[in-house]
């Protein structure tokens, strides 16, 4: 079995854990009534988002310089294309989501430090209209991301349980 290299696995599962936590935090922050807890949830969500952005930048660099194993011999061409397209989209969304969040954070004018420590440089000036547009973009990117995530996990399970190949196993840690 040609496994993924260790850093690729590390990046994959780190981002997986961060992203699931991030979605939960984001939804909780929106739903919470205005309170100190809500503000803290937003600090966590913004901080984690920037961490995901940083990890994704490193991951992208690693992936471009260290290609992974291809799909098994005999995989239909459409599956190869679908895999390439969905992975490309996952990477793109995992970068676009934090970036659009960064725009919201800057445009909102709400004071913020990453993990309560490091000031975040502003990428746009504070402006309500900009913040509203960026928030809508952020939402629709999430709406696009979630089914893609389900497709990604579903395809991995299909490879494992139906096609009975090693596509899922070779991304497992310690495998």
């Amino acid at each position: 079995m040609t496994s993924w290299n260790a850093p690729a696995k590390f990046f994959h599962w780190l981002v997986a854990v961060l992203v699931l936590a991030q979605i939960a935090l984001g939804l909780a922050a929106i739903g919470w009534s205005l309170s100190p807890t809500k503000l803290n949830l937003y600090v966590w969500h913004k901080s984690l988002g920037l961490l995901i952005l940083a990890v994704m930048a490193l991951r992208l660099l690693w992936r471009l310089t260290h290609p992974g194993p291809g799909l098994p011999e005999g995989t239909p061409a459409w599956e190869n294309s679908a895999a390439r397209a969905s992975h490309f989209l996952l990477y793109a969304l995992l970068i676009a989501l934090p970036l659009s969040g960064w725009v919201i954070a800057s445009a909102s004018g709400i004071p913020f430090r990453i993990f309560w420590q490091v000031p975040l440089p502003e990428i746009v000036t504070a402006d309500k209209a900009t913040a509203d547009v960026a928030a809508r973009v952020h939402f629709w990117l999430l709406v696009a991301f979630v089914p893609l995530l389900v497709l990604h996990a579903g395809a991995a399970l299909r490879h494992h349980y139906i096609k009975r190949n090693d596509v899922l196993r070779r991304m497992l840690p310690f495998a």
């Binding site: 100190p36 803290n40 004018g109 709400i110 004071p111 913020f112 430090r113 309560w116 504070a126 309500k128």
Partner: protein, 183 residues
Amino acid sequence: MMTRALLVLLLIVTLPARAADWRMDAAASRLDFAATFEKTPAPGVFKQFDARLAFDGDTPAGGKLVVTIRTASADMGSADINKAIAGPEWFDFARHPQATFQSSEVRREGERYLARGTLTLKGVTRPVDVPFSWNAAGDAATMEGEFTVQRGSFNIGTGEWLATSVIGPDVKVKFRVRLRSGG
């Protein structure tokens, strides 16, 4: 006649010089404040306020400072925060549209001055000391200073916001007021 003239002369010599009256030049004056939000400075500004001053730098004792602030003119640079601070837990603009500082005593402190008095904010009146520097030239003067108040003393941030871990307890107030004599 002679005695009367003497009396007037005596009055002029012994009476403290009448403090000059000053009016604020609103366009050239600023009233800033800075809270802390999630351990991050959160600056704001009161866009509408007025300072009335009777003051003479040489004889500060006769001075009197009255500052009125329209609380709803507070701008913290964020639409969300501006909306939040309008509410009853914060400034409560609807019930307390105005804050007032009124001095009871003005005195010299080295090179600078100190206006002691009371600040009435959100219906609560507390003693506040306002140190300031004074630069007068002709009929114009600049008054500058800063001081810190505890938001809790004025019920700014009630309920869950009483806790100071997310929104800090201290609010620094900073002013630069340009004045013209007369009026």
